[in-house]
């Protein structure tokens, strides 16, 4: 981080400095050299003209003397040339050895009366010279300026430039280090801060006071952290509230992940399992109960609320288990302790069963002795015989009542395990018809079976027989006037619906909603007289419910009644 920022800053500085140096160097070498040369040339021209004037008018000094003086003043090589090109005086070479200079371009220009100039390697001394020649009467004066001195001058400047460049580079390096350090230190703080937030420390803040972009980023992060902290605080609060609420419940609540691991559980669950509850452990280690686990898996699979009763879970207790799928694929399960309800219910059932049993013994005596008297040959008047008959009949009815109470207690509890297996619809109807033929024939009622296709239903044959027996004997009891009873079945989306239809007086609509309740009687006087116990339809309802089916009735006064029950398809 630090290195990279430093390297980038450094590279940028070096590039800028190099470009500036290069540009400066080029401009020094070309532009500056040219202008310097022009300046020198102009000066040379003035000097040459001035000297030409002196040479033409000064007759006191020799030519050589004047040339020497001029050369000293102007720092040039001074030459005086006759009009025929013969060198008369020169400050750096012996004029007698010098060749004729008439052909030199600047001399030629001066001989024609103008000021001439040229840059050239001197044959005589072998260095680059800037020559300027001016006419002076019949002679020509020439000043030659050593170009090497310009070059020396420029290279001096360039050296200074390079030194400056090196210094600038050094400064740039230091600056780059400092800037990189400052930036990376600020960035490091932001990174550290972001790291803290990521680690969950939302109370962390960075105080960045400068107004640059980094400070803006820091401020934005600060704001985010503050908002997150607020939100998390709100979430924590509502979570704590929820937790307190769930922990205060007496029902056990346990949430599991889609792979059946414990995600959360409330205090009540801890009390139920009575051992440490590791979050993330497989739920099967916590509550190894087939019905509970089946409900969980079912809810996971169906994504619908599932319900089950789990008996002897955590000791001897019974729980009602409701498993509700969570939006993220898990399941939350509520375990409601119904042991007490079950116990009360069982006490009630046992009581009913005991009462039923206990009543049978005296009933046996009442009925048996009444029958014995009725059959005896002893003298008895007609009304005594009638009274005995009444005793016998009522003992019979009471016996049926105890029987039905017992059956109802058992079907209500679901204690009787149904022997569910596929049964043919036609077979069930035929068996019902044949075993109840006698009952209907005795009442002079015709029992007909509607022909049906051979559907298969999941049912306990004996229990279905009990349902038909109750419905058909009810029809015989209350609707014998219709002279006809019809049984059959048809297909429904949720199973096969069987029906028992009579053509009797029908039932008034106000009775229909309550007709499946135990001891509910449509016509109290008539029911007693007919010997019904008032429990038949309740028994029917519970048997069908135990099959996961449903019951209903359709009836209208004067148009007979039809009782329906649905059994699931096999």
């Amino acid at each position: 981080m630090r290195n990279r920022i430093f390297l980038k800053a450094m590279a940028a500085f070096v590039a800028v400095i190099a470009a500036a140096t290069l540009t400066l160097d080029i401009s020094i070498r070309h532009t500056w050299e040219n202008s310097l040369r022009a300046d020198i040339e102009r000066l040379l021209v003035q000097n040459a003209q001035g000297f030409a004037l002196r040479v033409a008018n000064d007759h006191q000094h020799t030519l050589q003397q004047m040339a020497e003086e001029e050369a000293r003043i102007t720092e040039t090589r001074t030459t005086i040339i006759a009009h025929d090109g013969i060198v008369l005086a020169d400050t750096e070479a012996d004029p007698r050895t010098m060749e004729n200079h008439a052909g030199r371009p600047e001399v030629a220009a001066a001989l024609s009366g103008k000021v001439g100039s040229a840059t050239r390697l001197s044959h005589t001394v072998g260095i680059d010279f800037l020559y300027v020649a001016a006419p002076s009467g019949d002679k020509v004066v020439r000043l030659a300026y050593r170009l090497s001195s310009i070059q020396a001058h420029i290279s001096g400047i360039r050296q200074t430039l390079l030194r400056a460049t090196a210094l600038a580079l050094l400064l740039a390096l230091l600056l780059a280090i400092v800037i990189a350090e400052i930036i990376s230190r600020r960035l490091r703080r932001i990174v550290e801060f972001a790291g803290k937030i990521a680690a969950g420390d939302l109370s962390a803040r960075i105080a960045e006071t400068s107004g640059d972009e980094i400070a803006q980023v820091a401020a934005a992060l600060d704001r985010t952290a503050r908002r997150l902290e607020d939100n998390f605080a709100a979430v924590r609060e509502s979570r704590a509230e929820l937790e307190a609420l769930l922990n205060s419940m007496t029902d056990g609540v346990i949430a599991v992940t889609p792979d059946l691991k414990v995600r959360w559980a409330n205090q009540a669950i801890r009390n139920i399992v009575r051992r440490p509850l590791p979050i993330g452990a497989p739920v099967i280690e916590l509550l190894r109960h087939p019905d509970f686990l089946a409900a969980l898996s079912a809810a996971l699979k169906s994504r619908q609320r599932e319900h089950a009763i789990a008996a002897s879970l955590a000791g001897r207790r019974t729980f009602s288990v409701t498993a509700e799928p969570l939006p993220d694929g898990g399941v939350v399960t509520v375990l409601h302790d119904i042991s007490e309800v079950e116990r009360v219910e069982k006490t009630r059932r046992d009581f009913i069963a005991n009462v039923s049993h206990e009543l049978r013994t005296p009933l046996t005596s009442i009925r048996g002795y009444a029958e014995t008297l009725l059959e005896s040959d002893g003298a008895m008047n007609e009304s005594s015989r009638d009274f005995l008959e009444i005793i016998r009949r009522n003992a019979d009815r009471m016996a049926r009542l105890t029987e039905d109470l017992l059956v109802l207690a058992r079907v209500e509890s679901g204690e009787d395990k149904l022997d569910l297996r596929p049964q043919q619809t036609s077979q069930l109807l035929a068996e019902a018809a044949s075993s109840l033929q006698e009952t209907t024939r005795a009442a002079d009622v015709e029992l007909t079976v509607e022909a049906v296709p051979d559907w298969s239903v999941m049912a306990d044959g004996y229990a279905v027989h009990q349902v038909f027996a109750n419905l058909i004997s009810n029809a015989v009891r209350y609707a014998a006037s219709g002279k006809k009873i019809m049984i059959g079945a048809h297909e429904k989306p949720d199973g096969i619906e069987f029906f028992v239809r009579d053509f009797g007086p029908g039932i008034a609509s106000e009775h229909l909603p309550r007709i499946f309740e135990r001891f509910y009687r449509v016509d109290k006087a008539r029911s007693r007289e007919s010997g019904g116990t008032g429990l038949g339809l309740a028994i029917v309802k519970h048997i069908v419910l135990n099959h996961s089916g449903s019951v209903r009735v359709e009836s209208a006064v004067g148009h007979g009644s039809t009782f329906f029950f649905v059994l699931p398809k096999a």
């Binding site: 005596s365 029958e371 029987e403 043919q424």
Partner: protein, 229 residues
């Protein structure tokens, strides 16, 4: 000679009632009120039939039934339960223990006598023909069964049921038809009782009762006897 019936009943009124009607029907009757008295009394009187209440002081009727079936002398004497326990499971348990009928209180006095007679008739009427199958043999006169050479205990009712089915190999009988044929005119046992008897017979004669070779269930109809190939 009068046949004696031993009645186990702790309610004196009912014991008197039963005694009265069985005597009217021509039987000798001995009653006792405790389960513990049944065996000693039986040894003294050699009853032709036991009529047992279930919930009595001392050994329960079920326990007495088990003792009788386990004893040498009374293993084949018919037993009828006479009880207030009308539940299906009690009925099945009684029949499972080898009882021949199950009468629930309150009962009709005529019905009681008729059923006692019916059970005795069933027991007395010997089946004359014997039947032999690869795994078992029914000896008609002695009413005994031997399975793979070993004599095996059967009650009269079990014997008659197996004999009836084996006499009609391959024919399917509904439970009602079986009731009519084996229990005769008095079909007081429920169709489910037939299932109990079939199960008991399978345990006696089949090598694998779960996967019977002889006594086959015909789904949705009833039972049939599969002749050996």
């Amino acid at each position: 000679m009068k046949q004696t019936i031993l009645v186990l009943e702790d309610d004196a009124d009912i014991a008197n009632l039963v005694q009265h009607h069985l005597q009217l029907a021509g039987f000798g009757v001995r009653t006792c009120a405790s389960g513990d008295q049944v065996l000693p009394l039986a040894k003294k009187h050699s009853p032709a039939l036991f009529l047992l209440d279930i919930m009595v002081p001392g050994n329960s009727g079920f326990e007495v039934c088990r003792q009788l079936r386990a004893s040498r002398e009374f293993a084949r004497v018919p037993i009828i339960f006479l009880t207030a326990r009308a539940g299906e499971e009690d009925r099945v348990r009684g029949l499972d223990l080898g009882a021949d009928d199950y009468i629930t209180k309150p009962f009709g006095t005529r019905e009681l006598a008729a059923r006692v007679r019916a059970v005795l008739r069933r027991f007395e009427q010997p089946v004359t023909t014997g039947i032999t199958a690869p795994d078992f043999e029914l000896h008609g006169d002695a009413m005994t069964l031997s399975v793979r050479g070993n004599p095996t205990e059967v009650t009269a009712t079990e014997f008659r049921l197996l004999h009836f089915l084996a006499s009609h190999p391959g024919r399917v009988f509904t439970r009602d038809q079986v009731l009519d044929a084996v229990w005769r005119d008095l079909a007081f046992v429920t169709p489910r009782s037939v299932d109990v008897y079939i199960r008991r017979l399978r345990e006696k004669i089949e090598r694998d009762p779960e996967n019977p070779r002889y006594l086959k269930t015909v789904r949705g109809a009833g039972y049939k006897f599969e002749a050996a190939r």
